[in-house]
């Protein structure tokens, strides 16, 4: 049996008022009310409210029904009934009216049929397309995709550049010629140098063999000229001033040095140190950075390899700075400054007013 307390007495009161309380609970309730006289007053008030409701019910059954125009506005009352728009009194009165007039029940029944019920079998199947994921995840995924794309492009570019390095013959011939204009003339100094070396080593070198080798090398060079050197000459801007003979002569010297090297090795008479110098020269001609393929050009100054390298780096830096200037909408120039203390030349550019940022959202 449930014990009655001040926390649950209401449900016992309601059962008591409705007459649905058991005999045991009734005894317990009476005992509880004796112990709590303040709640006895509350129970009395609740019973008074019920009496008032019963009074209304009684009045509906009286002649007061004549005051409600059910007959004249039957449709409206029927609709109000099914819509729940009637108050308690009207509702009870209308129920009484319908019960007293069976012929009106059909009208109410028809109105009740107009209440629609949703067809639960109709569903929206594409719910998945409506659902959303976390915006943050989408952004991370987008950033990851962008990064992956950028990495792929960089990788492809690297592979492509390496391919160019490995296959210099595949390069655009005209671009090579522009970049190597000075290199064709540069062997003149080397030529004299090597010739001097050769002359000093005349005693140890078999001159006849050298002449023979010279002849054979010339034929080899001719073969080379057909493939490469003639094209280089044609690409020169002032090619009218340079005869084919001259250009061929220059290249002959270069190739001759190569052949001399071979000759010296064969005879084991040429000093090794000199051969190393020759070897370096040849390596320089074979190398191609791929800048020409990017549309970048540079003219190396006359001098040693170190100067050329500096010149190349300066060109690249200058190009980069000019591109930054384009983006920033400012003209930025590289400036060379000589530092007498360190005896070094420094290259600098003014970064005032230029900021670097990454847009984020």
């Amino acid at each position: 049996m449930k014990v009655i307390t001040r926390n649950n007495y209401e449900e016992f009161f309601l059962d008591y008022i409705e007459g649905e309380i058991s005999a045991t609970d009734k005894v317990a309730l009476e005992s509880f009310l004796a112990e709590n006289p303040d709640l006895k007053k509350e129970l009395d008030e609740m019973m008074d409210m019920n009496i008032e409701c019963e009074g209304i019910t009684i009045s509906v059954e009286s002649d007061s029904l004549k005051d409600i125009p059910f007959q004249e506005n039957l449709d409206d009352f029927c609709i109000a009934k099914i819509e729940g728009d009637l108050d308690t009194y009207e509702n009870k009165a209308f129920d009484y009216y319908i019960a007293s007039n069976p012929n009106k029940q059909k009208e109410l029944s028809l109105y009740q049929k107009t209440k629609l019920e949703a067809d639960q079998s109709i569903i929206f199947k594409e719910k998945k397309s409506l659902r959303r994921r976390n915006k943050g995840l989408i952004l991370i995924r987008f950033a990851y995709t962008s990064l992956a794309a950028a990495a792929s492009i960089a990788l492809l570019f690297t592979i492509w550049t390496n391919e160019i390095k490995n296959k210099p013959s595949d390069l655009n011939i005209e671009q090579i010629s522009q970049n190597t204009r000075q290199t064709i003339a540069s062997p003149d100094s080397t030529k004299n140098k090597i010739q001097k070396n050769i002359s000093t080593e005349k005693d140890s070198v078999n001159t006849k063999a050298l002449e023979k080798q010279d002849k054979t090398s010339k034929t080899k060079i001719k073969g080379k000229i057909q493939h490469k050197s003639i094209i280089k000459t044609d690409a020169l801007p002032n090619r009218a001033a340079i005869s084919n003979k001259e250009s061929i002569d220059k290249i002959v010297v270069k190739q001759l040095l190569v052949d001399n090297k071979r000759l010296a090795i064969e005879n084991i008479n040429l000093p090794k140190a000199k051969l190393d110098g020759i070897n370096n020269i040849n390596t320089t001609y074979k190398e191609n950075t791929g800048l020409a393929s990017l549309g970048l050009t540079w003219k190396s100054s006359q001098g040693d390899d170190k100067n050329k390298e500096k010149s190349t780096l300066l060109k690249i830096a200058s190009y980069g700075v000019s591109q930054i200037g384009k983006f920033a909408g400012k003209k930025i120039n590289l400036e060379k400054k000589y530092d007498p203390k360190t005896d070094k030349t420094r290259v600098a550019f003014n970064t005032l007013g230029i900021g670097f940022s990454t847009p984020t959202k």
Binding site: I79, T114, L116, F124, K127, R131, R133
Partner: protein
């Protein structure tokens, strides 16, 4: 409203909105488009919408999108007039559900909408008024007229059958 609440509202209300629109325009593809459009609009304003008012927001958006679509297609009826088409006799209407569907189709667009909102979703007059941009008394009048019309049609069909 949070992301989880948005996805919950998809599960809770997409079927109801779809049924409501489909019953109004009788075109499944267009009803689907309107539902998707409504949820898209809600997602765009997801941070400004109270989860407790999601249902009302969705039905309002869907209803207005539907009205815009009807206007675009020049199929908009005069909302203030009850449909005056004569009831046609058909031997195919055998159950109450089919008869009710036919009765519903004979209502004007606004009458149909308010009755569907009332019966399918249990909205009160004030809520329907907010969705349809009508006054509360107008909603009540439309519902009463719609009931009378449907009752007449059902009564007529029952006597025929």
């Amino acid at each position: 409203m949070k992301l989880e609440e948005y996805n919950t509202s998809v599960d809770q209300h997409s079927d109801g909105v779809f049924r409501f629109i489909l019953k109004n325009i009788k075109d499944e593809d267009k009803a689907r488009d309107i539902v998707q459009d409504s949820f898209e609009k809600m997602w765009r304003n997801v941070e400004n919408i109270n989860f407790l008012k999601v249902k009302s927001y969705l039905y309002t958006t869907a209803y207005r999108t539907m009205i815009d679509l009807i206007r675009k297609e020049k199929r908009k009826e005069d909302f203030n007039q009850v449909d005056v088409r004569e009831y046609s006799h058909s031997q195919h209407y055998t159950d109450l559900k089919e008869i009710l569907d036919q009765a519903l189709e004979r209502l004007s667009a606004i009458q149909r909408s308010v009755v569907l909102l009332r019966d399918y979703e249990g909205y009160n007059y004030q809520e329907i008024a907010e969705i349809t941009e009508l006054s509360e008394s107008q909603v009540k009048v439309y519902i009463y007229r719609a009931r009378k019309k449907m009752k007449e049609y059902i009564g007529h069909m029952e006597t025929v059958i």
